[in-house]
Symmetry: C2
Subunit: 889 residues, 2 copies
């Protein structure tokens, strides 16, 4: 029915557009058209499409030539539908002019109501409504709004005029003003506007209309809107539409009203009609919060012990119609709706519908309920829940409304909340935790030596470090709440306290850490334990049915492994072995090994480590049963295991009997300018093959041990930091030799794989050759991101913020994988690897394995599994399902 290019009419049961045309008509315009099509009572109107906006900006803020004629035609149609005429003093048509973009940008752009009023039409409105006070109230609202939005006049002037008039008459509230009062105020407004403008306030409704349309388009580029788009990744090129709609009035007396409603409870997801309304008010009044709105339903009124009648009681017919509308809309849109309505003298009008925002808890319940009701499929239910938001459901949180005595804020580095007493030292954390004391570890920053202290603590706070600092990464891995980079904290170890924003917190004081918000609070805040409802189980089951990729966890202790299994992990994708080296019993032998200048001495030191590693692996294998366990052989540069300062070397020497001078000398010798690109990973084993020999022996002996009484473990031995096939050839041959030797001696064969990490660009490029020697690839996307982008994760904090802010990078590439750059290497390595070895198993074990956006990319790349920290396994399961259900790009 639409022959226009730029303008789409709606209303009176028919529309040129529909809900599928959000890109062209914006969300509001498309849904108004859809509702009108459904026969719902929508005030008629028309939408200027987003293309007008795009052309407006492409053509130096000029409208397309056809626009004026199309608007005239649409206006004429609107007049005929309403039976009113624009600017007609006898029966004036009034309209609202509102923005409406493809994505919701609440409050960012401009709106003008009651447009079409002037000294003549206001009289017509007074006559028609029989309420001159209402008419002049509308008129003064219009002048005020138009002056602000379109004419950009100082609104202080208008407030002064109104204030002066109220003072002169000793009125306290606007409601005391009579029609005559408003007339006087309106005169004052017009004079003030003329003075500021240097010409009279525009009285021609057409001029008013074009002014408002221009202002709405211009507001697309106002600072607020630009900022909001940047932070919400909304492309500028989308543009906004403009909706021109016949006014209806909720402020025409006691039989008029305006309100908002949700078809289900947006905070709990409960299936009950939920909302608020105000009698004798315009929509803006509900939002403004000047009057307290009332509940829609009687049940809600009773529950909340409100005095005023509910809509259900006050206007039962309107309520019944509204219920029918909501049921129709929810059924039609197959999702919970957020509605806006107005009642004008007992007649219901629908002004907006859209999918309602909701809490994670509500999203889960609504999705599962709707699938149960047969409204949506189980797959659709899986797609309805934001995977990232599951975090909120999996961790203890601070009770809503609990008192929050803020000490300082840092980064929300690992979600969940915890209460405990402050300690500054990992040993002390461990000691106290052994006596069941809840402790919070507060540190300048953490290092691998703090692992045990972090495990012992209920939460971790660091003064330095970003979202991907050591503390943040390890805490997420362990599922401990963590606030990192709380820059205001100054720790004074001598005084046994930390200070932040002028306040001192002593060792032993109780604090609360909210890792989801980044807040550190004084005292013990009230906590809510997470409740995993049956809905959660149902949704995860549907997700597991829908996903293609397996989900594993990164775990290196039996406890982590058990958590992983509890959350549904199907294996371990990354068992780092270096943290095992830091245990107090072992670190001495590790250092002996590093100090050894001859192979036999080195082997003797490794022999001391062997029984420990064997026990480590056996314990993990026992937990994991017949699930695969990917064990990464030693990766970090050796200097990470040595003390660095003269003082520390002396301490270590005293404690271990090692030579302080030798320690310092070796530490200096091994020091590196860029340890990230240094002597680490398989490079260590090319030079000192005996290290991996020991680790491989420990893996196979442990596997044989466990297989004697239970499931045979499935070890997948992973060689890190490979750049050439030859490295893998050499090291794989040694692993295989160790395996043969152990199996022969134990009289038992264990199935195992040997593979590699693809974490350097060269490895990705050479994936075809490397695959010839590898049973599997596991993408180490952290290191691959560091090297591909030349970004040191530890250092990038200095500029990454500016990079995202200025739009150089869309987001932090350590959080969501850089699909265009790093991702190309991942895809290329998959392709080359699979070409060389079709059965090649492909996985990913970087931090990205728990990020839904990255998971969508990995699904496209065709990986077999993703691996993430145990607490993110449910998120990964859901995200993997959503990725599998989404159309391929």
């Amino acid at each position: 029915m639409n022959t226009n290019t730029y303008v789409y009419s709606f209303g009176a049961g028919e529309s040129a557009g529909d809900a599928s045309m959000k890109a062209l008509l914006g969300g509001k315009g498309a849904n108004l058209a859809e509702m009108a099509k459904l026969g719902l009572p929508v005030p008629p109107g028309f939408t200027l499409s987003t293309e007008v906006c795009t052309e407006f900006y492409n053509n130096n803020r000029a409208y397309p030539a056809e626009l004026a004629a199309e608007v005239d035609a649409a206006l004429a149609a609107l007049e005929s539908k309403t039976g009113k005429k624009f600017g007609d003093p006898a029966n004036p048509l009034l309209v609202s002019v509102r923005s409406g973009s493809r994505a919701s940008m609440p409050g960012m752009m401009d709106t003008v109501l009651n447009l079409g009023l002037n000294d003549d039409t206001v009289e017509g409105l007074a006559t028609l409504s029989g309420d001159p006070r209402f008419a002049y109230d509308c008129y003064r609202r219009f002048i005020q709004m138009y002056s602000d939005v379109v004419l950009e006049l100082e609104h202080g002037v208008f407030e002064e005029i109104l204030g002066a008039h109220k003072d002169a008459n000793e009125y306290k509230s606007d409601t005391e003003l009579t029609a005559e009062d408003w007339k006087i105020v309106v005169d004052g407004y017009k004079r003030a506007a003329a003075r500021e403008l240097g010409r009279p306030f525009p009285s021609d409704p057409k001029e008013q209309l074009w002014g408002a349309i221009g202002a709405v388009f211009a507001s697309w580029m106002n600072d607020r809107a630009v900022f909001y788009r940047k932070h919400n990744n909304i492309p500028e090129s989308w543009g906004t539409a403009v909706n021109v709609q016949a006014m209806v009035f909720g402020n025409m007396g006691e039989t008029s009203a305006t309100g908002v409603a949700f078809t289900r409870d947006p905070s709990t997801g409960e299936k009950k009609f939920y909302g608020e309304f105000l009698i004798n008010a315009q929509g803006e009044d509900v939002v403004a919060g000047i009057r307290t709105p009332r509940a829609l339903t009687k049940a809600a009124r009773l529950e909340m012990r409100e005095q005023g009648l509910s809509l259900e009681e006050a206007m039962p017919d309107v309520f019944a119609e509204l219920v029918a509308v909501y049921q129709k809309l929810e059924g039609h849109y197959r999702d919970m709706q957020d509605l806006e309505f107005t009642v004008e003298r007992g007649k219901l009008y629908m002004l907006q519908t859209r999918n309602g925002k909701r809490t994670a808890k509500a999203a889960l319940k609504i999705a599962v309920d709707m699938a149960g009701e047969g409204l949506i499929t189980q797959d659709e239910a899986v797609l309805r829940v934001d995977a990232s938001a599951l975090d909120q459901l999996l961790h203890p949180t601070i009770e809503e409304g609990a008192v929050r005595d803020l000490i300082c804020k840092g980064l929300p580095a690992s979600p969940g909340a915890a209460v405990g007493i402050v300690v500054f030292d990992s040993e002390e954390a461990e000691r106290l935790a052994a006596d069941n004391v809840a402790v919070i570890l507060v540190r300048e920053e953490t290092s691998p030596e703090d692992i045990h202290g972090m495990h012992a603590a209920r939460a971790i706070v660091t003064a330095r470090g970003g979202m991907t600092s050591h503390a943040a990464v390890v805490a997420r891995g362990m599922g401990r709440p963590c606030v990192s980079g709380a820059g205001d904290i100054r720790i004074d170890m001598k005084a046994g306290e930390f200070r932040a924003l002028g306040r001192a917190i002593k060792l032993g004081d109780t604090i609360t850490v909210d890792g989801s918000s980044g807040e550190v609070l004084a005292g013990a805040a009230k906590m809510t334990e997470p409740e995993l409802s049956g809905d959660f189980g149902a949704l995860m089951e549907w997700a597991d049915g829908a996903r293609r990729m397996k989900v594993r966890a990164n775990a290196e202790t039996p406890a982590d492994a058990a958590t992983a299994v509890k959350f549904g992990a199907e294996g371990i994708g990354l068992c780092r072995t270096e943290h095992m080296f830091f245990d107090a019993e072992r670190i001495a032998a590790v250092r002996e090994m590093i100090l050894a200048d001859k192979e036999p001495t080195r082997i003797a030191a490794l022999d001391k480590l062997f029984p420990h590693q064997r026990r480590d692996f056996a314990a993990i294998f026992k937990v994991m049963g017949a699930r695969p366990v990917t064990i990464r052989l030693l990766d970090p540069p050796l200097h990470e295991f040595l003390p660095h300062t003269e003082e520390d070397c002396a301490d270590v020497a005293k404690a271990t009997g090692l030579d302080a001078k030798a320690l310092l000398a070796r530490s200096k010798e091994l020091a590196e300018s860029n340890p990230m690109l240094g002597f680490r990973g398989c490079r260590l084993a090319i030079v000192y093959p005996e290290i991996y020999d020991m680790q491989a022996r420990a893996v196979f002996e442990a596997a044989c041990d466990v297989a004697e009484t239970g499931d045979a473990p499935i070890p997948e031995i992973m060689i890190p930091f490979v750049i050439a096939k030859k490295e893998l050839d050499l090291l794989r041959a040694r692993v295989d030799a160790v395996a043969s030797e152990v199996f022969a001696r134990r009289g038992r064969r264990i199935e195992y794989l040997v593979g590699t990490m693809i974490e350097l660009p060269r490895a990705a490029l050479k994936a075809g050759e490397i695959a010839e020697a590898a049973d599997f690839f596991s993408f180490g996307t952290n290191d691959l991101t560091q090297t591909t982008m030349g970004l040191s994760r530890d250092d990038a904090g200095k500029f990454l913020g500016a990079y995202v802010e200025r739009g150089v990078l869309e987001r932090d590439p350590f959080v969501s994988v850089d699909a265009g750059g790093v991702g190309e290497l991942v895809a290329l390595a998959c392709e080359r690897g699979r070409k060389a070895r079709p059965a090649l198993k492909l996985g990913i074990c970087g931090e990205h394995g728990g990020d839904p956006e990255s998971i969508a990319f990995f699904e496209q790349a065709g990986l077999d599994y993703i691996s993430c920290s145990p607490f993110r396994v449910p998120i990964a399961r859901l995200a993997a399902a959503q990725a599998a259900l989404s159309p391929r790009k």
Copy 2:
């Protein structure tokens, strides 16, 4: 004529093979076949091809089934050609069995001579030669050689037997032994061999032959050969051939002789027949050096004041024939030949010809001469000279035969030699050099602050650091000889000396540095200044005519720029701007700028730097005239400009008036875990755009200044460390704005380009997008290698040696570009860049720009230019020509 598969006969004017079949017959076999074909007097024989070797190793050391029959047939043909019979006591055929692979591997594999002798045939040989002593001497040589090579017996036993016999007879020299004596010795040898073997020494010639063939093939895999191949990049798969050839005897009395000859002088290249010979000797004797060989020509004899007659005088007919042969061979092979010949009783036999090895100087002269003679084309002449070897011609060297009093050895980090007095401090080096004192800077290692001291010094020695350490890279850039990583050196600043290998060298002592060999010598060694002959000029001119790629230099001072122009640079490919910041006058302002916490303070500090930068650029533009100058805007992380320790900060504070605490705090704040991947390059300018603004203004103002009185400069502004187009968009816009502003004010337009370095994998991957904003790409292959391979140049020394040794990497990827990995990214970036912008200018400015092997790769990748340090420009010009002349891979 050859119907065989594995065996190729030659001799008597016809051959189954020829010189083109080196891959199949090895160098020696192919050239023997070719000489026989040419009708030259070659003792007949046959060659077992390299395919036998390959199949031998592929089939578990078994020969192809057809081989025995083919050898029998070839042997029969050999018997008929020589008229002798294998094992015939009356007229025995004796043969040599020698290895011969595609590439020359001198002395690496085994040889057996005089094969076919036993107790019967030795008598025949005695009768035929009329010289029993000769016959038994041959026999004992054979037994000794065969026992060693084939039977792998202890050769000490034989030496003992001979020694005992000589002692018993009081002989001092082997020449005193008679035929009877040798007979006794031979008996002793055979008994000893039988005792060791547990069976008699093999007397069947066929058995001997197969034993020798097997030993030669086996020697392909001996440790020496394997090691040699690895170090010379010879693939194992090539295999060796085996040459079986009728023996001729240079030791049959005074009319017999053996010798080697070169068709031109291999050390000077002079066109004169050159060589040595021995009367009455076997070839091995010339090589062994027991007797002193004589000159071939009378002229040489006179020149060297030798007593014995030259071959020309002693055997004029043979000499004349040899001259004819050499002329024929040089004409045929169109290159200088290295010949082996034997004269048996007045008859000349040719045993080998091959292209002769030569010094760089000789290579140059021979190539230019031969082109002049019309023997080869100018293009061929260009291809004949090893580009890397030009280094020898461009730098002063220590005189051949000069006394070398070695203090210690390090790495040959930058070629050439220099004499000077030892200083340990850059300031002192500068001070003394200002008084024209020749100084050698000896440091633990160097840092950017030493640049001026390095410039002042004649040579640099460092105790630490590899071939690509700061010292090495900067020294090569400046053309200063440098020995890096001289690990034996211990500098004792307090004592004012360094110690190495037990010896103390004091401050002010004179030493000589040989950067080509890595040697540090005590005292002033005698030096030879480089002489650039007209030949050099001619060759470079031909090279310039043949090459496609332009050659630029990396230079950042007017002096370097002048050197670059002198050596033929066509522009500057990399003018770093950071070194300019270290000048004493400027560093204070640089530090002020870094300490500034607000933009205006930062701009004020930058304003102080501006006039210096403007002068810097103007001076360079003046030297370069209308040649393009690529200026890289500030690249290193800011902490490189700050002092790091508390002590240093205090010093700087005292000297500059800056606040010591603030310095230390800022230094700590800016410190990075991995500065290579840190806050550097264009990242600095995204956060602090005013830095690049100042630099761009200095460039354009300087260009306008210079253009007023001379050629208009062609600045090419290069933005480093880009990973996304948006960086370039933002920064390019600012550069363009500065340019417009300057040009408008100065009333002058300067043509300029804005481009970027491709030095991170993401930049290479995103080259298509980036090219939209870039006029040129310059590949920073140093950083690209670091990130693609995950190798920190400063740290990789710890394992890179082991990596090359174990064959993980073919060579140091910082010396020759890793074509398979890093190279793929270069090629891909070229392709994507050119697709997006066909006119995109492509260059390379990493260290690889001066490496011939890398240059060949860049030619294939289609770069427009290469840029290298000024002293390597001639090498790059020649290598670029060779690359252009070589067939595309």
